[in-house]
Amino acid sequence: MLELSPWIYAATGAVTGILGATLGLGGGIFLVPVLTLVFDIPFRTAVAASLISVIATASVASTVNLGRGLVNFRLGMTLEIATTIGGLTGGFLAALLTQRQLFSIFGLTLAGMGVVMALRSGRRNVIAGAGVEPGLLGGQLEEDHRIYVYRLRRTPLALGASLLAGSISGLLGLGGGIIKIPILTAFCGIPIKVAAATSAFMIGVTAAASAFVYYGRGDIDLALAAAIALGALPGSLAGARLGHALEARSLKLFLAVVLFMVGGQMAIKALRLP
C-alpha cells in the first residue's frame, strides 16, 4: 500500500488534473514528473497511475467539451486508429527500456514540442465565412458570433503524429495530446481549441489501450492510481471550464513554457541516473 496518505496523492491528482484539462492534455505531463521526481515512485508505476488518471481526466473533459461543439468526432476517430495502435506498441515497449532511457525520452519529447509550440504560436488556422467547404475531416467553429471554417491539411502527417503520440503515451503515460496538439495546430490547419478538445476526446481511448497492457503486467498500484484518479476527476472538471475562458495565443505560449520547464527537469533526472 501507500507510503503517504492517499489524500496527498488525491490532491496531486487534482492539481495536475486542473492543469491538464485547462490545456487539453491528460495531466500526465505534470503527474509523471511529480510522482517520479517528488515522490520517488518507480517510472513504470508512475506511468501506470498516470494512464488511469488520463482516462479519468479525458472522460470528464470530454463531457464538458462535447456540449460546446468543439470536438471534431470524425477527425478524432480517424486519428484514434493510429493512437491506439501506438498506445499498444508503447505499452509493450515500456518494459524493454531502462529508467534512464525513459526519462531521456520524456525530456526530449517535451523540449521538442515546446520549440514547435513557441515558434508557431502566432498562426491563425481558420478561414472566416460560412461558405467555405471544410472537407471530410475539417469543420467549423463559432467564436464571437462568427462562423469560422477550418480544413485538415497534410493528413499523412496528422496520422503519423497520432501514431507517435500513441506510442509516447504508452511509454510515458501522457495521453499524447502533447504531440498531437502542437502538430495539428502548427502544420495541419486545426485551430487550437478544436485540436485541444478533439485531443481530450481521444486521449482516454489512447490511454486505455496502454492501460490494459500495464494492468496485465501488474504495474498498476491500485491505491495510488485510485487516489490520483479520484483527485483528477474534480480537478479536470474545473480545468476544462477554465480552458474555455483563456485566449488561444496565451494558451499556446503557456504550453510552450511548461514544456521547457518540465522537459528540462526530466532531462536533468536522466543525467543523474546511473
Partner: protein, 88 residues
Amino acid sequence: MKRTLGLERAVEMALSAGVATSGLLLLLGLVLAHEGVLRSGILILMLTPVVRVVVLTLGLFRDGDRRFGFVSLAVLAVLVAGIVLSRQ
C-alpha cells in the same frame, strides 16, 4: 452537425455513467482500504473509453454513417486486441 447531436448526448451519458460509477467505487475502496473494490473501480474506469467507442460505433451505423462507423469499429478492434494481448 445537427444529426450528431443525439449521438453526442449518448456518448456523454456513457462517459458520465462510467466516471460516476468508478469514482464512487474508488472513493469507497480508499476509505475502506478494500482491494477488491479498488480493483473494480479501476477496471470500470479503464473500460469507460471502450464503452464510449462501442456507443459511438453503434450510433454511427444507426445513423447510416457507414464510413465512420467502420473507422470507429477499427478503433474498437485495436482496443479489444490490446485487452486480449495483455491477458497473459
